[in-house]
């Protein structure tokens, strides 16, 4: 029963569902972008600044000067042979390596973020179709049953799936259909008991257009 009730296609109402999928994805894209930009400037910006050429240069000069100050207070002979600014200038290679490392880390992080972003959008898109189908499914069913009703089938009843939204609509529809069914069935019964006449025949002809549970 459950299997029989299972929908094979989730994209039931293309226009309606894609419309909402687009809304959800756009809202999510805006939120994600704000989050990412905030994250970038909040976390990465400080890392980038710390590893910037200027900052590295300043740190190296500071450390070199502290070293030189100390050396100048305890000189041994001649012009100081202690690690000086010259030596620290040679560590430019180190600073380049540090920058390469941070660039590599950032590129990796960005690549992963983009991959995760694409995956996220895919899941969100799929999830949105699944979610909207819980609304569009009942609406589709309701439209079908309305057609049945219009065709005169008063025995038709709606049965939504367990987790479909707007379950209450089904009850109201079924109550309405039952009420009509009972009324038309009763009228059919009364008309059948009347003595034949041309007027009665005409009524019977009209009533025969309705498919009811009673005759």
């Amino acid at each position: 029963m459950i299997l029989a009730n299972r929908r094979k296609h989730f994209l039931i109402d293309k226009s309606f569902q894609l419309h909402y999928v687009l809304y959800i994805i756009l809202t999510l894209a805006v939120i994600t972008s704000v989050g990412m930009v905030g994250n970038y400037y909040g976390i990465w910006a400080s890392v980038i600044k710390a590893f910037s050429e200027e900052s590295l240069r300043e740190s190296l000069i500071t450390s070199a000067q502290i070293n030189e100050y100390e050396a100048s207070r305890h000189p041994v002979t001649g012009i100081s042979q202690m690690p000086s600014l010259r030596m620290y200038r040679e560590t430019t290679l180190l600073s380049q390596r540090q920058k390469e490392m941070i660039r590599q880390i950032m590129n990796d992080a960005h690549r992963k973020t983009i991959a995760l972003g694409v995956l996220l959008f895919f899941f969100i898109g799929w999830g949105s179709i699944f979610l909207t189908h819980k609304v569009s499914g009942p609406l589709f069913k309701l439209t079908q049953y309305m057609g049945e009703l219009k065709a005169g089938n008063l025995t038709a009843r709606i049965q939504f799936r367990k987790f479909d939204e707007v379950q209450y609509l089904a009850n109201h529809f079924n109550d309405l259909a039952s009420s009509l069914d009972n009324s038309i069935s009763s009228i059919k019964k009364i008309v059948n008991e009347l003595p034949p006449s041309s007027a009665v025949e005409k009524v019977k002809q009209e009533l025969s257009k309705f498919k009811t549970s009673g005759r």
């Binding site: 200027e54 000069i61 000067q65 502290i66 100050y69 012009i79 100081s80 600014l85």
Partner: protein, 421 residues
């Protein structure tokens, strides 16, 4: 005979003729000289106005971008703000608030060890920078600056707060159980293997350590360091290891040594002899280094083409490579006013276009290597502000500092004889 040899003979002749002596008479500066000195003082003080953090009151070691704060530079800043408040360079209230801000930081935000501070700290947070050491001399310069500043604001809360800061320093701990005071301490390494064991800029440290109300060092610490001396052209000079001029100046910026006798040594005269020796040393080497020509002298620790070096003259190690620090001649103004003034004028007139900027003279230059410092150093601008003040305002800093109870205690405990003025 080669030109080089002729110059050498001429120089030797000159050597004999240059008198290594100084006049003890009060030298009155010309109006133009005073105007120039006032301008240099005003501009140098601007360094502290610009490079002292408005939140923490900590002063950058140099004008270089990213420079850490130095506690010695901060000490000079405190002194400079106080001086500026009486010279009209900043208002009384401005100076008071600036000093107060620095004290706030030193009291609560800057880490200390037994009351001693790290030499280099972050100007924004007050935290230790790199592997900077807890420094005895730099803490002394900071406390001296604070004490001097508080003496300009007598009867205010600053006095009590500075006294508390001074009392917090455990000077005796810095001896590490030895007879002399140690240069410093590091958290992992412990005490540095260097002690203040001969004449240098540490006299101010000695004065504060001996004159302290609490945690004072024993009297014998004063006698424990050696007074190495050398007869240099007929003058006996108690010299520092490097022969850097600043070693003869820093303590003298605060302390008036003119009438103090230490076992027959007058350190004021000693600094005057050392300044003259520094001038003559430059003169003797002017054929080798173009920078030393045209009346330019002043070998002292400064930035140079190969980084910061303890440049100096004889007597002493006398490292030199043609780099002159303008602050050196200015810092000797009270000792050698005529000679210093000549050098200041020469520096200003000949090289002012490249050497003089918005904060006074830049740190150093070297014509031979065509190297010009782009930076100003806080401690070097500080000695300029203070020594000019002592020179043009008749020792006004000395008058304030010498009245401090700590100074009296030091002179008594060190058994310094007060000579008649």
């Amino acid at each position: 005979m080669k030109l080089r040899q002729i110059s050498l003979i001429l120089l030797l002749t000159l050597w004999v003729q240059i008198p290594v002596s100084f006049s003890e008479e009060i030298v009155s500066l010309s109006h133009e000289d005073t105007v120039l000195l006032k301008r240099i003082q005003k501009d140098s003080l601007q360094y502290f106005m610009t490079y002292t953090d408005p939140e923490t009151g900590l002063t950058q070691d140099s004008s270089r971008s990213g420079s850490p704060a130095s506690i010695a530079a901060t000490g000079f800043a405190l002194a400079s703000f106080a001086i500026g408040s009486v010279n009209g360079l900043l208002t009384y209230r401005e100076a008071y608030e600036k000093i107060e801000r620095t004290l706030d930081t030193l009291e609560s935000r800057t880490p200390n060890e037994h009351g001693f501070f790290y030499h280099f700290i972050d100007p924004k947070t007050g935290r230790r920078v790199w592997n900077s050491e807890i420094s005895s001399i730099d803490t002394a310069l900071l406390i001296a600056g604070a004490l001097l500043a508080s003496s300009y604001f007598k009867g205010t809360g600053l006095e009590t707060r500075v006294k508390r800061l001074y009392d917090r320093v455990d000077w005796d701990w810095m001896r590490n159980g030895s007879a002399q005071i140690c240069h410093g301490w590091k958290p992992k390494e412990g005490f540095l293997p260097y002690y203040w064991d001969m004449y240098s800029e540490h006299l101010i440290l000695q004065a504060l350590a001996l004159g302290a109300d609490v945690h004072q060092v024993p009297e014998q610490v004063w006698r424990s360091w050696t007074r190495e001396s050398e007869d240099w052209e007929g003058n006996k000079i108690v010299y520092s290891y490097t022969g850097s001029l600043f070693t003869y100046q820093y303590s003298h910026a605060f302390i008036d040594f003119r009438n103090l006798d230490d076992q027959g040594i007058n350190y004021f005269k000693n600094s005057a002899f050392a300044s003259l020796a520094n001038k003559k040393f430059c003169l003797l080497n002017q054929t080798e280094y173009q920078t030393y020509q045209n009346g330019i002298w002043g070998l002292s620790a400064s930035l140079g083409p190969d980084g910061y070096q303890a440049y100096g003259a004889e007597p002493g190690l006398a490292l030199h490579d043609g780099t002159i620090a303008p602050y050196a001649a200015i810092g000797s103004l009270p000792f050698t006013p005529n000679e210093s003034m000549e050098a200041i004028r020469a520096l200003y007139e000949q090289y002012g276009a490249r050497l003089y900027g918005p904060y006074g003279f830049r740190d150093a230059f070297n014509l031979d290597r065509n190297w010009w410092a782009s930076e100003y150093l806080g401690i070097d601008q500080g000695i300029v502000v203070m020594m000019i003040e002592n020179q043009i305002n008749e020792g006004s800093i000395w008058n304030h500092f010498m009245k401090l109870p700590a100074v009296n205690r030091w002179t008594e405990r060190a058994k310094l004889k007060k000579q008649p003025a």
